[in-house]
Symmetry: none
Subunit: 195 residues, 4 copies
DNA sequence: AATGAATGAGTTTTCATTCAT
DNA sequence: TATGAATGAAAACTCATTCAT
């Protein structure tokens, strides 16, 4: 098998296993067995267990990141609500199509060690900053309730995280994503926008 | 030292260490050193590492639980908003006064193994059910926007969790809790209550 | 067993094994089996394989060092030759009584890695410096042939090392040490002293 | 590249690496990278790591061996001292021009395993035997001090080895070889020859 | 009620060697 | 003649748990 293929295959297997069992309960032995490779082969592609996990975390952080587009105001732009809905449904869709991704981000990568926690926290902080910017913009335009944009952003982020957690991580359910997206959107809109 | 005292002392030390370093990075060696006891002594009081951690998780779940009072409607009761504020500020205060508690619940106990995840998830589900009941009640009374009470409850829970996470777990900051409580309350109220 | 005893016992066993088989061919498994202890017990007393080996090297370097006394000239002192003989026979006796010691210093600790090589080289350099000082003193007193004291010291050291190597390391023989000491002494004396 | 050339090239690279880092710290990966060949190619030319190292050791033992000519006494022969000087300077020159050679013989091949140790020891024993023969001859001729030729030979060998070790192996210095040769020669001559 | 020396199963990681192309 | 992806046995090290004192 060509190196890039092999590497990708191992990462696929690892993503699934780490998502299912978490970091510590996924052993190299499980991984190589599931991938159908020899022990040494794994270390041919990844320096160690941390490294492959770190790569997975970085990858999925990047994946989520591409789902988020800054809200643009101006002629010819979709409405703010439309743009928010776009961001939200892209994120939910991406995660729904790849649960291990959600499970790693919201569960497996949590509390492992300061480095991973920092990486994940940085990502969330970045996302919440982008949300806060949007809220601040809305404040200036007078379409957002007077509030602390930073705290509001944290709560919006938390609401989304929890929805993802409940529907994709903690359970195996398969909700109607359009409906959930609408609910989330309505909730957020009411929470921050002036009527 | 009397048995109950010793037991309590070990748990205090463990709560701090697990909160600081997480489950796997806290070793029995760290624990007994910090507690100033011999290795064997630890095992006189706790069957194993899981057990003490499990107890801590159960304890703090119970602690948080006592902070939450069902919303009561009727003559002589404080307003619904007042009752919500009470719940919220009791939770935030309790956690703010004991960060290890927050760190264990939101970080150390996450993704460890199916059993712990289930215990924690059950707790959150219970909390979100109580919130959902409140929302459903509000719906019946016509004071809450038409929405899916379950999804709304998840988002309210998520907003609170994230605030706690950002202010108590991910950083060492010390915000003005009254202000934060007000922000959260305003956000939740606007999100669900009809104007 | 009391910690110090256990530690000493493990070192004794390790000294023998490292002496017999060298560093790489002595595995922790061999060591703990020979010592009659469990794997973990070894790591209770030594951080790792390098550490115990390093301690052994340092110990024996110190042991040899105590055999060497600076040559003193003056009334009431034994003759220079007598003092040289004393140094020599103390070294040979010490090593003869403890072959693993010689085997570690002259064989097992050689070429392992830069750190060990440096430690051993430093020791030899120190010894050769002490010899060179003696030779330089003899030069000033006119009782030593004109020569480069540094080179002479290296050769004297080499002569002794090779004798030890041939009789204690490379073979299992048991020569007449008095005779060997005399031969070495005669050789060195002729090589450096004026007739 | 022609097979013999390739083989020679790999050996050149290996000699350098083994000399620099020793046996265990030189990995096949280092070797093939430095030689610019593929992993499999190495094994086309050498059965395994031991084999190439063994060949190098044998080669250099043979190389040194050709530097040593038996001392011949008779009309038309250079003086004994001249012949000794010849042997000595050929050895020192050869090693000085190829430090890896010295480093392998005096450091990398030491204490690896019984087989290599035996090979190297055999070589030294052979050299020391040739020296001992010369000394015995001198004894018969009355030009050598009464001494045990075997012990004397060991010490002469040791003196030379240590000079080589100090100047070529342990340090990167570049002494004046003529001077060193003279010092060594003077030392040996004084040590064994009658005035 | 406490001690702390000892245990050993379990896990990661290394690296010389092979073999299909 | 050369390649380089794959192998897997072997080795070091960890750490929760036990048990004799």
């Amino acid at each position: 098998m060509r190196p890039e293929e092999r590497r990708a295959q191992i990462k696929d297997v690892a993503r699934r296993l780490f998502g299912e069992r978490g970091y510590h309960r996924t052993q190299i032995s499980d991984l190589i067995e599931a991938a159908g490779i020899a022990r040494g082969t794994f270390y041919l592609y990844f320096r160690n267990k941390r490294e492959i996990f770190g790569e997975l975390v970085d990858d999925l952080v990047a994946t989520i990141d591409t789902c988020i587009r800054g809200i643009e105001v101006g002629d010819g732009q979709p409405s703010v609500g439309e743009q928010m809905r776009g961001n939200l449904s892209r994120i939910l869709e991406t995660l729904a199509q790849n649960r291990p991704l959600a499970r790693i981000l919201l569960r497996a990568a949590v509390g492992l060690d300061p480095d991973f926690d920092r990486r994940v926290d940085d990502f969330y902080r970045q996302v919440s900053n982008r949300i806060a910017e949007g809220v601040a913009l809305g404040l200036e335009m007078g379409i957002v309730h007077p509030c602390d944009p930073h705290v509001a952003a944290i709560m919006i982020l938390g609401a989304i995280k929890e929805v993802v957690y409940q529907y994709l991580v903690a359970t195996d359910g398969e909700p109607d994503w359009d409906e959930v997206t609408n609910e989330v959107l309505g909730y957020v809109v009411r929470a921050v926008l002036t009527p």
